[in-house]
């Protein structure tokens, strides 16, 4: 093997403390080195040409460049090697700048270390193997999980670009939390009015396959090549026959057995129902847990009234598999149920505010429903306990947010804004009413946000009190709210008619289970982790899986929508080529030697190790061995260190290469 060594001065950067000519002289004597030079700037065009010419003229098989960190210029020199006709993975670097000249002062010491590092690189490169980039085909279909505003936006963007989309939503209708909202900040436009057209667009889009009342059960494969299993839960309605006339819903005799979750428990729904009138698709669902038919086989009123024979009591869950190239996670959030503490600890959360005990102590989404024109009170302000108009309403912020003791350390980000909106909506409808907001800080960064909060205070006369409330208790039909104004330094007690708690936004139910199913990491709160907090906020660390909206952290509508469009753009980047190229730094198993203990499989962070059966001529399985899926392997090498019989190697970092480096010390 003919090896060339190229030592770079990096101007003065290396040359000042490392005697570069001496290093290149020393390298001449290393076994296998046939050419060794030093030059002012190896990364410059003349420098690169020097390398290319040497490769061609001297017939070099491999090169070592002694210059800066490989993180800086490995790509540059590998490209040069490729241009000159040798495999780019037969190029190694010795880091003489960051690890030598910049950190040592003594020229003698530095030069000696530079020689050692160069020798190690030479010994390594001798054992390098030519590697070919790995190519995998891409299925150009996107799976969007979650049909809230983020999922809707992402699905529409991808579909409008001409790619097929499968949109999976676990509820019977898409729309998410946004469909529950009354008006939205900071413009106070009606949430339903801007959302419903989008929902219909999704339904009618020829490129979108909408699967409501469905959940993702299994995800296999890797970027560009996912195989996804989806469970379509039984609606007990034949969707192909149902016209959405709603006769079954109006005739269903079960009226007061099940709470309406869309109305946040402030109303009832029948056993056969659509979550809300504008639901998409407008196909009802039969709730087995309350329907009389499932109790005793009787009733069947819906069957009688349905002119289309669409009721199917014996319908079963169905498993559907889809071939997918990219996945967008848009599973959203849920509100922290403050009647319970998140862990299984003995202490329950916020007993001091009496949520769950007093009917008129409600959370933010319940308030949205009361304020909504389509809500249980048709938009009139009536308190849940006695239907009277509340004349004094207290809003408490940061309930469960910024609370290490009973909730979560993070700020839920949207509560300052929606509380201002709530107070404003209330004041707009109840002119003689009083609204108090207890806050700790007002966080209103965003276009027109601070102006919005000021409007609530200046124009609508909402009173802001800086301090956390300690206790809410009931006395003669009023709720005594005990607080402290920390600015005045005075205790404050307010006799309120209704109390609204801005409870924390937390990760969706079972978010961590879904993350495990899909194979992406999540943080301690259950929010999905982005690949890099600043530079890769849309991607998960798993290739081909992107994040949109509040599943990543608390977000408001414009942020969720922006993120959804960004995720859609990311999938289109992926779909821009037919084949995916990957660095060939992946693990390889020697199947002859593999003993089949599968420790590699246990430690692999990417589930990239598969089981392969070795059969004899008669097709009888002799043994099972490990096999690396190139698409999934990210090249960490944890398997190689774990393997007891050393039957798995990481390409580019083989044990032989490392031993050679150690031996060259």
């Amino acid at each position: 093997m003919k090896i060339g060594v190229f030592i770079c001065h990096c101007g003065e950067n290396i040359g000042r403390t490392v005697d570069c000519p001496r290093v290149s002289k020393a390298a001449e004597w290393f076994p296998g080195v046939v050419h060794s030079v030093d030059y002012k700037y190896m990364c410059s065009d003349p420098g690169q040409n020097m390398i290319k010419d040497a490769i061609r003229e001297k017939g070099l098989d491999a090169i070592v460049v002694g210059s800066c960190s490989p993180h800086m210029h490995e790509k540059t020199f590998r490209k040069a090697a490729l241009d000159a006709g040798i495999n780019p993975f037969l190029c190694e670097m010795a880091n003489l700048r960051e690890h030598v000249s910049w950190v040592h002062d003594d020229i003698e010491e530095a030069t000696q270390k530079a020689i050692d590092l160069t020798r190690m690189a030479v010994e390594k490169v001798k054992r390098n193997q030519p590697l070919a980039t790995i190519k995998v085909p891409v299925t150009k279909r996107t799976l969007v999980i979650g049909g809230g505003i983020a999922g809707i936006q992402a699905a529409l963007d991808v579909a409008n670009a001409g790619y097929e989309v499968v949109l999976v939503e676990k509820e019977p209708s898409i729309g998410g939390h946004m469909s529950q909202l009354s008006e939205t900040f900071p413009t106070l436009d009606c949430s339903q009015c801007i959302l419903t057209p989008r929902m219909v667009e999704v339904y009618q889009h020829p490129k979108i396959k909408l699967m409501t009342y469905s959940e993702v059960e299994k995800v296999e494969g890797f970027i560009g090549n996912f195989h996804v299993t989806i469970r379509q839960k039984a609606r007990h309605i034949d969707a192909s026959k149902c016209t959405g006339c709603g006769l079954c819903i109006t005739k269903c005799p079960i009226r007061k057995k099940a709470f309406n979750s869309f109305e946040e428990g402030m109303a009832y729904r029948p056993a056969v129902y659509v979550p809300f009138p504008q639901a998409v698709p407008n196909i009802p669902v039969i709730d087995e847990t309350v329907c009389t038919y499932y109790k005793n086989g009787k009733c069947g009123v819906c069957v009688k009234v349905c002119g289309r024979e669409a009721i199917m009591f014996d319908q079963q869950d169905k498993l559907v598999t889809e071939e997918i190239g990219a996945i967008i996670m848009a599973t959203g959030y849920k509100l922290y149920d403050i009647s319970k503490k998140p862990d299984d600890s003995f202490i329950k959360g916020y007993g001091e505010y009496g949520y769950g005990k007093y009917k008129d102590v409600i959370d933010g989404l319940q308030f949205e429903r009361i304020a909504s024109a389509s809500g249980p009170t048709s938009g009139e302000f009536k308190r849940p306990s006695d239907g009277k108009e509340p004349k004094k309403v207290v809003f408490i912020q940061c309930v469960g947010s910024r609370d290490d003791s009973k909730g979560f350390s993070y700020c839920s980000k949207i509560c300052c804004m929606y509380t201002a909106k709530h107070a404003m909506l209330y004041k707009h409808k109840v002119h003689d009413g009083e609204a108090y907001v207890f806050y700790m800080d007002i966080r209103s960064g965003g276009k027109m946000y601070e102006e919005f909060v000021r409007r609530a205070i200046e124009e609508d006369g909402v009173k802001y009190v800086r301090g956390r409330v300690s206790k809410v208790y009931e006395q003669n039909g009023k709720y005594i709210v005990k607080g402290e104004d920390t600015i005045a330094g005075m205790p404050v007690e307010i006799e309120a008619d209704m109390v609204v708690l801005a409870t924390a936004m937390i990760a969706q139910e079972n978010a961590s289970t879904l993350a495990q199913t899909v194979g992406i990491p999540y943080d301690k709160y259950g929010f999905f982790n982005e690949a890099h907090p600043k530079l890769r906020p849309i991607e998960s660390t798993t290739g081909g899986i992107f994040l949109a909206g509040a599943c990543q952290s608390p977000k408001d509508i414009p942020e969720s929508v922006a993120m959804a469009s960004a995720a859609a753009a990311k999938t289109m980047v992926l779909f821009g080529s037919d084949m995916l190229e990957r660095e060939p730094v992946v693990a390889r198993v020697n199947e002859l030697l593999c003993g089949g203990c599968f420790y590699c499989r246990k430690v692999c962070p990417y589930s990239a190790i598969e089981v392969r059966e070795i059969k004899d001529r008669n097709g009888v399985v002799i043994k099972e061995v490990a096999y690396v899926n190139d698409g999934l392997c990210q090249g960490c090498g944890t398997c190689t260190a774990t393997c007891p019989s050393k039957s798995v190697e990481l390409m580019g970092f083989t044990n032989e290469q490392i031993f050679a480096q150690i031996a060259a010390l």
């Binding site: 003995f346 202490i347 329950k348 009496g354 005990k357 208790y473 009931e474």
Partner: protein
Amino acid sequence: MENNLKAGYFPGCSQTGTAREYDLSLRSVAEKLGTELTDVDDWNCCGATSAHVTNHTLANALAMRNIVQAEKQGLTEMVAPCAACYNRLIVSQHETQIHPELKKEIEAILDSKIENPVQVMNIVELFTKIGADKVKQAVVKDLKELNAACYYGCLLLRPSDITHFDDAEQPTSMEELIKLTGAKPVEWNFKVECCGAAHSIARKDIVVDLSKKILDDAVAHGANVMVVACPMCHTNLDMRQKAIKKEYPEHKEIPVLYLTELIGLALGMDEKELGINLHTVKFELKKETA
């Protein structure tokens, strides 16, 4: 009777004086329920509020001496019926467990090793340990005439991450217990509000105000008796009603019973046996006419 409970008993100073009836009723009820209480040998005052507000080392040392005494006696469980004593003991035990340097310091002062095997219980936990079934079986008198406001006060439940006992804001364990006697618990607001405790003597004015608020709320929610589990609460709520009456002549008096007294009544003991006659606000069950 089989499965009889054996537990150590840390009476606390009040039980030898102002709260004599608490001690009396606890001992009689325990005996009736077949529970064997062993007094901690030569116990000393837990230091109460006065110690920990002025010198934390002293406070921990005083409390831990009792734990060590119990330890030497081989006790594994110990009931401290006074909520304040309970709080001091369990907090000191916790502190020495999690702060090794503090433990060393206290060990040096006490000249004794701290092993901490003793589990300190409050009075409600004692009854839980005895068992609801056992209490229920022993009830001979239905106390349905009582609408009771259960008052936990501050120190029975706090700090909740150390006591690990019931919900710190909306507790229900005492209610569950008194339901066994037929008494009806009322839902009210100030189960865990503070009565002023240690300020009983030095700032009577504060205690009068705070106690009045608590008593009024109980009455407003339909209570005809209050149930407490702490001699300090009892002093403030019962004894101070005279002073409250002086300050607020319209004040409506309400009797205040120790939890043990109420259970004692249900077990068929009479007021005198339980020391209820020693209270400031008089209390007597209706005489049965049958």
